[in-house]
Amino acid sequence: MSAPSQAESSTSARKRSKWDTFDSDEPSPRRVKIKRPRRSPTSRSPLPSSTNTPAAALRPSSVSLPASPLRHPGAASDPSRSRYVPRRPAYPPITPCRSVYAYERLNHIEEGSYGVVFRARDKETGEIVALKKLKLDQEKGGFPITSLREVMALMTCRHEHVVPIREIVVGDTLTQIFIVMDFIEHDLKTLLTVMPSPFLQSEIKTLLHQLLSAVAHCHANWVLHRDLKTSNLLMNNRGQIKVADFGLARTFGDPLGKMTELVVTLWYRAPEILLGAKTYSTAIDLWSVGCIFGELLLNEPVFQAKGEIEMLSMISKLLGPPTEDSWPGYLDLPLAKTISFPAKTSSLRARFPYVTETGIDLLGRLLMYDPERRITAEEAMQHPYFSESPLPKHPDLFSSFPSIAAGEKRVKVRSPSAPQRVANYQMEFDFGV
């Protein structure tokens, strides 16, 4: 196991006594809440088996497994149960959407192409959440498939580093639908531009590893994100990023079906899509991860192209042109013959001078022309880059920043500072102005 996940699990592990022998990977029972109205068993209940079971056995076995055998002797049969088959009462009941009036609207965060995002407060618990209003104005085909995919992807890809969806709420009319998510203070894009100093190598490792774990989880659940970019990565003040905006996400199958080529923001778009491949798969998300990795290192987007042709030439300038060797079969792609690649050699090393060899190796594997040979998220998480010095920084050690989304302004401390060694060389010449 690589370093960041160990570091994360240590947070919960250190609270346990040292003779507690349970594996730290196992879920601790106290953290899971199962909301379920329980009724006293009645003789005419249609579910004799579930209502007569002692309360302890009603919890999903995956949860009560580690600690239950002693505490709940009634659940003696539970260790033999599959953790994937919890007892019936562990399943949530069928409930309708709640009303949006359960939330109090605070401020407007942003307006994306798929809807408006508000910050809001849960009237009951006081928690701050983000409400994303879906755009449903006079849709021709009923509920828009893209929104449906977004909701389903968020629901199936629940993960530590995917923005947690809480519920869907409805307004007064059928066209008012809101996705309720946890409010996360920053998006990585804005943060990169306002941060006083760029991320350290150790911090980049932590963030990249978190991103990879989320991508691996989505892919394991047969979901492609299809729009990974820094503005879609949210970050909280506890050093955790959360993948957000599944507005372009969809499920994929094996064999791959035909999917639209109109995906991924241009700067993060993989070469096979640019060249008009008819099918594509998980590798397109990994290309985007490579672009994000590069952006974290450079503190600016790697490929800032204005059009698809320019994008392809920028890629070839950085990586060298694709060849039949580096990308077997690329000439068969619809647009491959219409495009000439100017550069002759790779300039990856020159563009990223301050990264170690292993770092360049990982970047090169993410930005690999051939989608077949591009590294998978699962493999990338095991890459030596994450185990060499400097090690990934523990998320708790990240500094925090004022949240622009929450309307917090950066407080500038107006006091003279001690002379600084390097950095702001402008200061020295900046006398009169």
């Binding site: 879920p27 019936r88 069928i94 085909g141 009923g142 449906l148 409805v170």
Partner: protein
Amino acid sequence: MSLPHPLLYPLASAAQLAQTPCRADGIPAWLEEDLRAEGCRLIQSAGILLGAPQVVMATAQVLFQRFWYVTSMREFSVSQIAMGALYLASKLEEHIARMRDIINIFDLLLSRLRYSLAHPTAPPESFKYSPMSYYSNEYYTYKDELVIAEMQLLKRLAFNVQVQLPYNTMVNYLNVLGLGRVEGIAQKAWGFLNDALQTPAYAVYPFPTIACAAIHLAAREASVCLPEPPEHEPWWELFDADLEDMEQVCGWVLRLYRRQDEEERELVQNLLLGGRREVRQWLDEVEPKAST
């Protein structure tokens, strides 16, 4: 991880089972079950005409069954929700159907049913379908109904429209039990899984229970002995199923094969065609009788 397991799709709670919205409105249990089954058969036939893969019809039927645990048939028409469920499922399974196709197919199926009710003795071939015109009011009425039904399904199920089907699991179970190659068993059990879609089973029990129930029925029918008490440990325990739950599922499935009372069937089909208006009218007629 403190996150809820994604496999935890919603199931009707004990309270929802004890008193469904339909029964609260005075619709008797047998009638509700028959209307649910009739609606599911409508979804299945429409899906076949649509050329959709079985997974679309299966998903649609599960969503349809769930819906009636939060809504009464007095409030929404069975055929309207069936149509919405099929459309929604076609989106969920990435096999998107055209609204017009779905509407035409439902119109055909309902017209045929109407004809056979009006002419009980006429041979089925005598039915002639005249399609509605492209811009007819009828079409737009259907379309509004379809959009509303889809939205209501999403809203009333709180967008928890993920469905876990037991087919692949059941095949694995059969192989574990050494029945994978026994003549006819897999086919039979598969058929029982299909038929169970017409019952509330999928909205009430986790999928391993349903898979076990189908195997149970198929083994009985093929006279195959599986390890059972008192001589052996019960085989279904291996798959985390409970006998009572399985028997409930089997009961629902076997009920589908009973000989239906002629009068009852006519009532069910009339209520299906007439929708909520017919249901309300019927309830108003029956209610005074029931209270005396």
